[in-house]
Symmetry: C2
Subunit: 193 residues, 2 copies
């Protein structure tokens, strides 16, 4: 997108600074190494079904990010029926939260790039788990989610056809969506004791 075209767009669309977005995309087009991101989470077991993650640093756009002055701390627990005390959401729920958020942000970014103003965007996500897989009671049952369903409510200043294309594009370009519906290699190694 040339600077003349960008100049006639509003400075902010959908809460996104359009010039910054265009600048980021142009920088990555010019140097693909700037596209490499590495996200990091440190988690520690507290007791029972409770564990906590600390999230702060990451690598991206050619450098270690320094923008976060404090770390985020996120808590997991399970409800009593799954042997916990409801001190936090369960890990499966965190995964559905990740999916909902990623589809949403991806849609907002691509709507902004197309100059489409969003009026409302919400999602309901449901995911099915058969606990026999997790408990190892039946090795023919996958421990993973069997199916995940997203119902999206989105209103925008564009035609229904444009909106349909936008939703499809967001789905096809969401990191978390494509991590769940495609197989992604996960390597686990133990630190030496």
């Amino acid at each position: 997108m040339g600077s003349q075209t960008a100049a006639v767009l509003p400075a902010i669309i959908n809460g996104i600074d359009v010039q910054t977005a265009v600048g980021t995309i142009e920088a990555i087009k010019a140097d693909k190494n700037l596209a490499r991101f590495q996200f990091r989470v440190r988690n520690r077991w507290i007791d029972g079904t409770q564990n906590r993650s600390t999230i702060k640093d990451f690598y991206g756009a050619g450098q270690e990010d320094k923008s976060r002055s404090n770390a985020f701390e996120l808590v997991h627990d399970e409800p009593p029926i799954l042997l916990g005390n409801n001190a936090g959401v369960g890990p499966g729920e965190s995964l559905l939260h990740a999916l909902a958020g990623c589809i949403t942000t991806t849609l907002v970014l691509h709507a902004t790039a197309r100059g489409i103003v969003l009026r409302q965007l919400s999602t309901e996500v449901q995911g099915d788990v058969d606990a026999r897989g997790v408990l190892g009671l039946d090795e023919s049952v996958s421990p993973g989610f069997g199916q995940i369903r997203i119902r999206m409510n989105v209103k925008a200043d564009c035609s229904d056809e444009e909106l349909e294309k936008l939703v499809l594009y967001a789905k096809e370009h969401s990191t978390v969506y494509n991590t769940i519906c495609r197989p992604v290699p996960v390597v686990l190694e133990r630190a030496p004791n």
Copy 2:
């Protein structure tokens, strides 16, 4: 596991109530319908890269769960380099948090079932994303995580061989791990406008 065997185990191992765990497993063995769980997340876009999820109800063990008096609210945002204001972690980081927490809880539950007392358990998770996939700059680049690595630090009152088997078993039975490393169907539908 018979009640006589369970009776000689400590009441609590690794913060898990052993009798409750045994009771849950026996109930699911007797009626596989009790193994069906459905987890739910409601997410709404706030502005820009910020969105929030509300998590409360779920279905499991043959009924709607009523144990949570209040909903959990989780916030997503992005750092400035990804056009946000650091009001929360990014969705990709939520996914890594889900993975770390799920591997951890699965390991704790199976250690408890084996009578293995854990002394310490922490994980560091790293995940690689190439932003060209997300931005649609190169359709040959997956928008999903390219690879995810987990480094686990675990100490337990058992032999190294038993610990190795336990870690492998936890990995093979973790819901989130198996949702990421295997393809899981995700269905997206739009609510009618």
